[in-house]
C-alpha cells in the first residue's frame, strides 16, 4: 500500500512553549488511522497543521508534512486552497455550527462541488443527490431544499460527510465526529464512515478520545499526550498488548474498574416517584396563552433505596434531566407524586420545601457554567450552608466545614480564596460535589457529571463519588447517556425513551439480558472494547 500522508518530526511552538514535540506518523491508502488522547494532548493541532490552518501565533519549528510525497509547507496559499477540500477534507465535532444556517443543505454541498469540480446546474444537482444517497440521507431530492435547523444532529453530520466527500478527497480528517451525538446515531455514523472507506478506498485520520470507538474503527492507533506520540501500533496489537504505561492506564480507565456489585438487599426506600408527569406549556401570542404541551416526562415510576444508586439512562431529549429537576421542584410537576421518605413533596410551597432542600442536592454536567465565576470557592460552598442553616451559624465554624469538604473531595484547603476560572474541569467538578455535600444531603442527583470530562478525570470523579457513598451512605440518582459507566456506578438502572421508562431493574440483569428492544439497541450501539482485554 502506498502512503497518502506522512508527518515527519513535526514540532509546533507558540513563543517559547512547545506544543507538539517531533510528531511522526504515516497514513496509508485506504487506512483508518486513529489519533487518541485527552483534551490538550495536541490531536486537533496536528490536524490543523495538516490543513495548514494553524492560528497565527503558532508556528512550525521543525518537521514536514507530505501529501503523496509532496511537501505541504512549501506550497503557495493558492495551491493549498486546492488541496483543502479536494485532496484533504475535514469533518468536525459540532455539525450544528459547521453548517451555514441560512443556506439549504443542498446548496452548501453544491457550492463545494462547483468550486472544485466546476459542475453546473443539472449535473451539479444530480451529483449532490447521489452523494446524499451515498451518506444515507433518505429522500435526497427533497432534503436538498431543507435548511440545517430542519435536520437532526445525525443528519447534519451526514451532510457534513457529504460535503467532505464531494470532491473525492484522498484523505478525510474526522475530528471527534461523533462526540456530540447520541449512542445509536454514533453507531450509524461510524458504520457509514467504514462503508465509505471500503467503497472509495479512502484514508481517514480519525481523532477521538474514546478508546471503544477506536477499537471498532481503526486499523492503526497512535496515543498522544502533551504533544508527543507515546505509542503507535496496529489496532489489534495495541489492544492485546499496550506497551506504554499511559496507554495501559487509558485502557483500564475506559473499562472502568469492573467490579461486580453484589445484588443489594432490600433496604428502606429514600425516594419514591410515582406516575410523574411534567408537561411544558407551549405559549404564544398576547399575554402568553397556552396553546399546547410538550410532554417531557410522561408517567414515570421508580424508587431509590437508601445508600444505593439508580442510573437513569437515555438519549438526549428523553426527559431524564427534567426528572431530576422535577424531584428538586425546580420545574412544576403536572401530575404524580414525589415522595421523600414518607412525605409528598409535590404539593409543597418554597417555604415548606426548605428542610427537604437540604436532603437533596445536585451535581451538574458542565463544570464551567455550574460555578459562579464571580465568587470564590469558599463563597460558593458556603452559599448553601447559609441558606439552609447547616454546618453551624458562625463563620469560623463554616470555614472549618469548608476545609474538611475540600479535603474530602481531594482538593487543597488553601483553594478557598481562589476563583473557579483557576481550576481545570475535573477540579471544578470536585468543587461542585463539595458544594452539594456542604449541606449533608441524603440524595444527590448527578446530572451527567462526567460527560464533559476526559477519560482519566472521569474515572477519578466516579471513584470519588463511590468513595463518598461508602463513607456517608448517600444515595445517588445518576443521570447519564453513557451506558459504559453504568455498571461502575449504579445498583439499579432505568432506561428512558421519549419521557417514559421502557425498562428498569438491577444493573447486572439488564446489561446481561435486556428485555426491551430499545435497551438492546442502545447496548448494541455502544462502542465496545475487544473482548480479550476485558479479563
Amino acid at each position: 500500500m502506498s502512503s497518502i500522508l506522512s508527518v515527519e518530526n513535526l514540532s509546533l511552538k507558540v513563543q517559547k512553549e512547545e506544543l507538539l514535540k517531533s510528531v511522526s506518523f504515516e497514513i496509508k491508502k485506504g487506512e483508518i488511522f486513529a489519533l487518541v488522547g485527552e483534551s490538550g494532548s495536541g490531536k486537533s493541532l496536528t490536524s490543523l497543521a495538516i490543513m495548514r490552518l494553524l492560528p497565527d501565533a503558532i508556528f512550525v519549528s521543525s518537521g514536514d508534512i507530505k501529501l503523496k510525497n509532496r511537501s505541504l509547507f512549501i506550497l503557495p496559499e493558492s495551491q493549498m486552497q486546492k488541496v483543502r477540500g479536494k485532496s484533504i477534507a475535514m469533518i468536525f465535532q459540532e455539525p450544528m455550527s459547521a453548517l451555514n444556517p441560512v443556506m439549504t443543505v443542498g446548496k452548501q454541498v453544491a457550492e463545494v462541488i462547483e468550486i472544485h469540480l466546476g459542475l453546473k446546474k443539472e449535473a451539479l444537482k444530480a451529483k449532490v443527490v447521489s452523494l446524499f444517497t451515498e451518506v444515507g440521507i433518505k429522500e435526497p431530492e427533497e432534503r436538498y431544499h431543507w435548511y440545517p435547523h430542519q435536520l437532526s444532529g445525525g443528519q447534519k453530520q451526514r451532510v457534513m460527510i457529504a460535503i467532505a466527500l464531494a470532491c473525492e478527497p484522498d484523505l478525510l480528517i474526522a475530528d471527534e465526529p461523533t462526540t456530540a451525538l447520541d449512542v445509536t446515531i454514533q453507531a450509524d455514523i461510524l458504520k457509514l464512515l467504514k462503508k465509505i472507506r471500503a467503497q472509495r478506498d479512502l484514508s481517514i485520520l480519525f481523532i477521538t478520545h474514546d478508546m471503544a470507538v477506536v477499537s471498532q474503527m481503526a486499523d492503526r492507533v497512535a496515543v498522544m499526550r502533551h504533544g508527543e506520540i507515546l505509542e503507535q501500533a496496529a489496532c489489534k496489537t495495541f489492544f492485546d498488548n499496550p506497551q506504554h504505561p499511559y496507554s495501559k492506564s487509558l485502557l483500564k480507565e475506559a473499562l472502568g474498574g469492573k467490579e461486580s456489585r453484589e445484588v443489594p438487599k432490600r433496604t428502606e426506600k429514600l425516594l419514591t416517584v410515582k406516575d410523574l408527569k411534567v408537561y411544558f406549556p407551549i405559549k404564544k401570542g398576547f399575554f402568553q396563552r397556552t396553546v399546547g404541551h410538550v410532554k417531557a416526562v410522561d408517567g414515570v415510576t421508580f424508587s431509590i433505596p437508601k445508600g444505593r444508586t439508580l442510573a437513569l439512562v437515555g438519549e438526549s431529549g428523553s426527559g431524564k434531566s427534567t426528572i431530576g429537576q422535577a424531584i428538586l421542584s425546580l420545574v412544576p410537576i403536572t401530575s404524580g407524586t414525589v415522595k421523600f421518605e414518607d412525605l409528598d413533596l409535590s404539593g409543597l410551597n418554597q417555604r415548606a420545601l426548605k428542610p427537604y432542600r437540604q436532603k437533596m442536592q445536585v451535581v451538574f454536567q458542565d463544570p464551567f457554567s455550574a460555578l459562579d465565576p464571580r465568587m470564590t470557592i469558599g463563597e460558593i460552598i458556603r452559599e448553601g450552608m447559609v441558606s439552609l442553616e447547616s454546618g453551624g451559624k458562625e463563620k469560623a465554624l463554616q470555614d472549618e466545614v469548608i476545609k474538611e469538604l475540600l479535603l474530602k473531595v481531594e482538593l487543597k484547603p488553601e483553594y478557598v480564596h481562589r476563583y473557579p476560572h483557576e481550576f481545570s474541569g475535573g477540579q471544578r467538578q470536585r468543587i461542585g460535589i463539595a458544594r452539594a455535600l456542604a449541606v449533608e444531603p441524603e440524595l444527590i442527583i448527578c446530572d451527567e457529571p462526567t460527560s464533559a470530562l476526559d477519560v482519566s478525570v472521569r474515572a477519578q470523579v466516579l471513584q470519588l463519588l463511590k468513595k463518598l457513598q461508602q463513607e456517608s451512605g448517600v444515595s445517588y440518582l445518576f443521570i447519564t447517556h453513557d451506558l459504559s459507566i453504568v455498571p461502575v456506578v449504579a445498583d439499579e438502572v432505568a432506561v428512558m425513551k421519549e419521557g417514559r421508562i421502557v425498562e428498569q431493574g438491577y444493573v447486572m440483569d439488564i446489561m446481561k439480558d435486556p428485555k426491551h428492544e430499545y435497551t438492546r439497541k442502545l447496548l448494541e450501539s455502544a462502542p465496545k472494547l475487544p473482548k480479550e482485554i476485558k479479563r
Binding site: 445536585v362 451538574f364 465568587m375
Partner: protein, 456 residues
C-alpha cells in the same frame, strides 16, 4: 456665610460618596482590583482618567454653593440679609473675570474691542475707532508673564507629584522616584504625572494671564469666555453623570426582572420599552421641558434666586434624558439575564432554596456588572454631546445657565459675520472635545478589559 444646597449638588455629592464607598468595596475584592489594574496599565487609559479627574475637580469645585451675608453696619439683632447671588468656589477663583465685564466682543489677548464704535473726541470730531478694553493691561510683556505662569504651574505640579510619590513609597522614596522616572512602575505613573503637569501648567497659564487679558476673548455682552467655559464643565459633567445615575436603577431593575421572572412581567416591560423607544427622543424631551418651563413660570415664588430656578430645570432635563435613555441598556440586560438565569450555578442556588432576590443580588447583578460599566462610560460622552444639541435646539438647560450648548447656540449667528467671531465656539468645542475624547478612550479600554468575549 451659608451653604446653599441645590438639588443637583446633593445628587452629585451623593454620587461621589457612593463612588468612594464602591471603590472601598472593590479594593477588597482581589479579582476586581486586578481588572482595574489591567485597565490602567494602558497609558492611554491613565491619561484619560487624569483628564477626567481634572474635569471632575472643576465640576465639584462648582458644586458647592455659598451665599454671603450683606454687611450692613450698625444694624444688629436683625435677621441676616443675604446677597442676591449664590457663588461657588469656582466663582471666587474667577471673581476678577466676573467683575471685568467689557462692553462687547473682543478677540483673545486683544487690547481693543473687536468692532469699531462711534466716538466723539476732545476736538468734537465724530469718528469710528476701536475702543480700548477696560480691564486689559496695556503693557507689552506677554512672554514674561507666560513664563512666570508656566514656572508657577511647574512648581505646583512638582509639589503634588512628590507628595504622591511619597504617599505611594511609604519609606523608600528615592527608590520609588527612580522607578517612576525610568518608567518601571507597575502602572504607568510617569505618564500620569506628565499629564497632570501639562494640565496644571496649561491651567495656571490661562488663569494667571486672565488677570491681565481676556485669554479666550469676550462674548456679545462682554462676558469672559474662559470663565464661561470653566463654568460649563459642571453642566456637562452633571448631565453625563447624573443621567446615568437616574437611568441605571430603572434599567437594572426592569431588565433583570424581565429576564428572570419571564411571563407577563417580561411582556409588560417589553411593551413599555418598545413603546418608549419608538417615540422620538427629542420630541419627548421638548414636551417635557416645555411643561416644566410653564410650571416654573407660573410659580415664581418657589425660587429665591435665578440659580435655583435654572438648577431645577437642569434637574428636570437630566430626569427626562434618563427616562428616554434607559431602554437600550434595559434590553441588553434582559438578554444577558435570560442567559445567566439558565446557567447551572443559578439552578444550584435554587436547589439550595436561596430566595429570588438573593439570587439577583448575589449571582445575576455581579455577572452583569461588565455590561453596566461599559454602557455607563459609553453613555457619558453621548449625553455630554446631547446637552449641546438640545441647547442648540432650544430645549436644553436654562438660557441663563452656562453650558457649552448655550455657548454654541449664542455664537452660531456670529459665524456668518465678517470678520468672524470664532472664539466662543472654539472654546466650547475644545473643552467639550477633550472631555468626550477622554471618556471615549477610557470606555474603549474598559470595554476591552471587562468584556469576557474579548479574552483570548
Amino acid at each position: 456665610m451659608s451653604i446653599v444646597l441645590l438639588w443637583t449638588d446633593i445628587m452629585v455629592w451623593a454620587l461621589v460618596i457612593s463612588l468612594l464607598i464602591w471603590g472601598w468595596v472593590v479594593s477588597r475584592s482581589v479579582q476586581i482590583k486586578k481588572q482595574w489594574h489591567t485597565i490602567f496599565k494602558s497609558s492611554i487609559a491613565m491619561v484619560s482618567a487624569m483628564v477626567l479627574l481634572f474635569y471632575l475637580f472643576f465640576a465639584l469645585l462648582d458644586s458647592i454653593h455659598l451665599r454671603f451675608p450683606i454687611h450692613s453696619a450698625g444694624v444688629q439683632n436683625q435677621k441676616v440679609q443675604y446677597e442676591g447671588d449664590i457663588v461657588s468656589p469656582l466663582d471666587l477663583i474667577f471673581s476678577h473675570n466676573i467683575e471685568s465685564t467689557e462692553r462687547t466682543y473682543s478677540a483673545p489677548f486683544s487690547t481693543h474691542e473687536y468692532a469699531k464704535s462711534i466716538v466723539v473726541d476732545e476736538n468734537g470730531v465724530t469718528k469710528q475707532a476701536y475702543l480700548p478694553l477696560k480691564y486689559v493691561s496695556q503693557s507689552d510683556d506677554l512672554v514674561l508673564k507666560s513664563f512666570a505662569a508656566l514656572v508657577v504651574g511647574l512648581i505646583i505640579s512638582c509639589f503634588l507629584i512628590v507628595l504622591h510619590i511619597f504617599w505611594r513609597a511609604g519609606g523608600h522614596f528615592m527608590e520609588r522616584f527612580r522607578q517612576t522616572w525610568q518608567g518601571k512602575t507597575h502602572l504607568p505613573w510617569r505618564t500620569a504625572y506628565l499629564t497632570i503637569t501639562l494640565l496644571i501648567m496649561t491651567f495656571t497659564w490661562l488663569y494667571m494671564l486672565s488677570f491681565h487679558y481676556h485669554v479666550l476673548g469676550t462674548d456679545k455682552v462682554g462676558g469672559d469666555v474662559l470663565y464661561q467655559s470653566f463654568k460649563s464643565i459642571r453642566t456637562g459633567v452633571l448631565i453625563g453623570v447624573l443621567t446615568t445615575l437616574i437611568m441605571l436603577p430603572v434599567a437594572i431593575l426592569l431588565g433583570v426582572s424581565a429576564g428572570l421572572f419571564g411571563g407577563w412581567v417580561d411582556d409588560m416591560i417589553q411593551y413599555l420599552y418598545t413603546t418608549l423607544s419608538s417615540i422620538p427622543g427629542v420630541l419627548l424631551i421638548a414636551a417635557g421641558v416645555l411643561v416644566m418651563q410653564v410650571m416654573i413660570d407660573t410659580h415664581p415664588h418657589w425660587f429665591e434666586t435665578t440659580l435655583e430656578r435654572s438648577d431645577l430645570r437642569l434637574l428636570f432635563l437630566i430626569m427626562i434624558l434618563g427616562i428616554t435613555s434607559w431602554t437600550g441598556l434595559c434590553r441588553m440586560l434582559r438578554a444577558e439575564t435570560l442567559k445567566i438565569s439558565q446557567m447551572e450555578f443559578v439552578t444550584a442556588a435554587k436547589a439550595f432554596g436561596v430566595g429570588k432576590f438573593t439570587i439577583i443580588r448575589r449571582h445575576i447583578v455581579p455577572n452583569l456588572m461588565h455590561i453596566i460599566l461599559i454602557s455607563v462610560v459609553l453613555d457619558f460622552s453621548g449625553l455630554v454631546l446631547a446637552e449641546a444639541v438640545l441647547s442648540y435646539v432650544g430645549v436644553g438647560v436654562d438660557p441663563t445657565m452656562y453650558s457649552w450648548g448655550n455657548m454654541i447656540n449664542q455664537a452660531r449667528l456670529e459665524m456668518a459675520r465678517d470678520p468672524m467671531v470664532w472664539w466662543s465656539l472654539f472654546s466650547a468645542f475644545v473643552f467639550m472635545f477633550i472631555l468626550v475624547l477622554a471618556a471615549n478612550l477610557l470606555s474603549d479600554r474598559v470595554q476591552t478589559v471587562l468584556d469576557p468575549r474579548n479574552r483570548v
